[in-house]
Symmetry: C4
Subunit: 270 residues, 4 copies
Amino acid sequence: MSAEPVRTDNGADDEPDETRLQRWEQRTEWPMIALSVLFFAGYAWIVLQPGMDRGTRSTLDVGMWLVWAAFAADYLIRLALSRRRGRFVLRNLFDLVTIVVPILRQLRVLRLVMVLVLINRRLQARVRGQVVAYVSGATVLVGVSAALAVLEVERDQPDAMITTFADALWWTMTTITTVGYGDYSPVSSEGKLIATGLMLAGIALLGVVTGSIASWFVEKFGGMEESEKESRQADAVRAEELRGEVADLKAEITALREQLVGSRTDDSRV
Amino acid sequence: MSAEPVRTDNGADDEPDETRLQRWEQRTEWPMIALSVLFFAGYAWIVLQPGMDRGTRSTLDVGMWLVWAAFAADYLIRLALSRRRGRFVLRNLFDLVTIVVPILRQLRVLRLVMVLVLINRRLQARVRGQVVAYVSGATVLVGVSAALAVLEVERDQPDAMITTFADALWWTMTTITTVGYGDYSPVSSEGKLIATGLMLAGIALLGVVTGSIASWFVEKFGGMEESEKESRQADAVRAEELRGEVADLKAEITALREQLVGSRTDDSRV
Amino acid sequence: MSAEPVRTDNGADDEPDETRLQRWEQRTEWPMIALSVLFFAGYAWIVLQPGMDRGTRSTLDVGMWLVWAAFAADYLIRLALSRRRGRFVLRNLFDLVTIVVPILRQLRVLRLVMVLVLINRRLQARVRGQVVAYVSGATVLVGVSAALAVLEVERDQPDAMITTFADALWWTMTTITTVGYGDYSPVSSEGKLIATGLMLAGIALLGVVTGSIASWFVEKFGGMEESEKESRQADAVRAEELRGEVADLKAEITALREQLVGSRTDDSRV
Amino acid sequence: MSAEPVRTDNGADDEPDETRLQRWEQRTEWPMIALSVLFFAGYAWIVLQPGMDRGTRSTLDVGMWLVWAAFAADYLIRLALSRRRGRFVLRNLFDLVTIVVPILRQLRVLRLVMVLVLINRRLQARVRGQVVAYVSGATVLVGVSAALAVLEVERDQPDAMITTFADALWWTMTTITTVGYGDYSPVSSEGKLIATGLMLAGIALLGVVTGSIASWFVEKFGGMEESEKESRQADAVRAEELRGEVADLKAEITALREQLVGSRTDDSRV
């Protein structure tokens, strides 16, 4: 907005110019999404084919760590490109979490948060339909991720109920819709942690479904009452009438002036 | 809308005239609904009387396939009547699904999607009450269909919990309201697939109930605040006053003109 | 609205005068509510003290039938007072149900629908707080009624889970909030019928809670956007300025007239 | 507001000056919050370390009663400072409950209501984000309190399912989201009472989540329809045009006056 000619490079000015950061983010957007999808596919493969040979497993593990490294590098580059680094860290806390969490060995299963980067990237919806489509996609992604993750941590538990991917998907459905039959439920702490996330996603899903329907209802039937609309139309009619009267007034003044000119001509002729 | 005199019959023009298609759809609307109801009744009969004699069962099966054939023929005729076929297929994907799914032997139970044609047909509600009535009807239809379908696929399972229609209805209620006691739940994959659909219907139902109540609340108590209403009334009063002043102005100018006329008369008399 | 002097007493005119009916309803409102409360108290007593002696039980039964008779009489009197009877029956279907249902011996437990008359009577809320208070009250009433009714029908079942009033209340809570642990659930058909009603009440309750919060949010933070408010204020400012200009105009015309008078005076002096 | 010079100290005037009360409440706000947090920490310590030695336990118990005494004293002082004591009691019923309940020995676990003072204190949100943050905080506080309380009352029950804090937290999650698997549920009356409160909190939570999303949707996509916005803009355009015409009128009248002056000058020159 400001047009000052010289700009020093330290991050201290009030409205820093973040075009370098934005250019980088635009250029890397699709590659990063592709990497997320690769990561998700690798994770799904590891979980769904537990008896895979050592070589394939090692390759996949290395591949996933490479994706993680790419994410970490992207984060550091963006941090370096940013002019106000404190604000960058605060505004991208979620990205930081997705980088730091996979390092923690205890929370191995939470590597999957990297998939959420897919969701976090692209929320710039302009139409209700877009938001609904976006949320549906995100819900499917979260659901499948949760099913994979819960299967990974549960199937080796001695008293596990969830031992196949079909079980895991069914459990995901009963949980995310808040039905909760209880015929399948996680028994390990890690499984319960995943379930907690899924329940919160379920509540958010319910909220979005309800909210979008409610806003559709309000738009279509409510909010602005019938009487209200009529009063608005009456306002418009009144304004139109007022304008007509002002136009009349103008015409009358013009006539008056012409009369006056005529009167002067008469006078001068006298 | 356009009134060009000659119109070629290929589907390449931008605003094709779909009156032929619309006429066909109007004329076949009620017959198709009647066929859907017949199909539903046949399906219900087959499920609710499992020990029926072979002859009746065969007759019903043939009848249901005839209904399916009528639906398929209707779809093909509509496709033929349409001028932009690609768009027709895209806009009627749901109809295509209801035609193709029953052919798949594995998904036998999903023949019931044909019933959903009943729901898909007629959503042109203009009042909130109509939407609520429509959704209530659709929910009952989906619920009864799900109960029938789950009963059909579950009752022959070795460890089935749902073995009577009463069980199936009760399970449907606990699922669609998202209560989910878990005293009854499906054990077969097909049953779980049906349950998934029912849970999604339950979430949508919750959304519509909540949304319609919320919009009623917003219309009655919220949205437009009290202060807002007052400011609107003040606007109206101001406009009224303005109009009064313009009227005064007009009267004054008229008086002015009369004075001027008088002045000229005086002048000319001089 | 119409002011015709003579009015025949048949129900055939278009806008019948229902003042007689309204007077009756106003006069009997509180007595009928008192009777409903008595009925509820009697029902609760019967259910909560199952081992009561025969005499008390008979007295209570007779008392409850008397209340029923009073309701039936009230309905018939209102029907007789109404000028358009067909419309009266249609508009008061709920009342008819509460009169007819208790006669059916099989649906003995549904006598309790008479309590719902309490709820049906008085919905003329003007403020959101009133609606919320009303719905809270209705929910408590429905919940306690359901707990009593389910206890009555379940406790004699061989495999019943709900055998004490505390169990019944707890089950009611888990059901109406749609939590549905399933540690207690009805096993008899009648119990499941009651549960179905309770689940629907739960969904409605959720809808009202959510709806009222949503409308409060919309009123407080949304609906009318900030930019919208500013544009309204700009409108007001513009209208005010317009008025100022019209006032200027008026002053100018007055000045003009005075000049003109002066000019005429000058002329006449010439 | 009123500026009368002398004011008697009895509480009988209509608009009493509650500045003394307000000053006290402002001054004690943070100390009281700190005490609430201390109370909560003490309670959590007692519950989470059941095998603590007698001395520590006694110290904690004494400390918690001291906090209670501070709350009671604060209440009495505020009552004394208030000018209209009846109204003060009515408006602070919740505070009274938090003072009285802990005295009842039977409802020992309900001492925890004192924690709710934390929530009750500070609801003056101005932005939707603040309300959401507040509700999230309150939900976490209620959830952790419920987990602690249910653990305290359940773990000594013979057939208890909830015996560790992890169990209690997991149960809290399944309850507050209304999922309700039923793998863990309270068996004691006190536990069920706590669960009831938690379910109600869950419904309120759902309501707030849904409500805030709905109001965001309404603000962003609905409420004010597109056609409505256009009609508003048309209004603004009309008003602008009207103003333009009034300005023209003014210019014309000025011209008229100058002509008139000119005409008079001409006349006088004649």
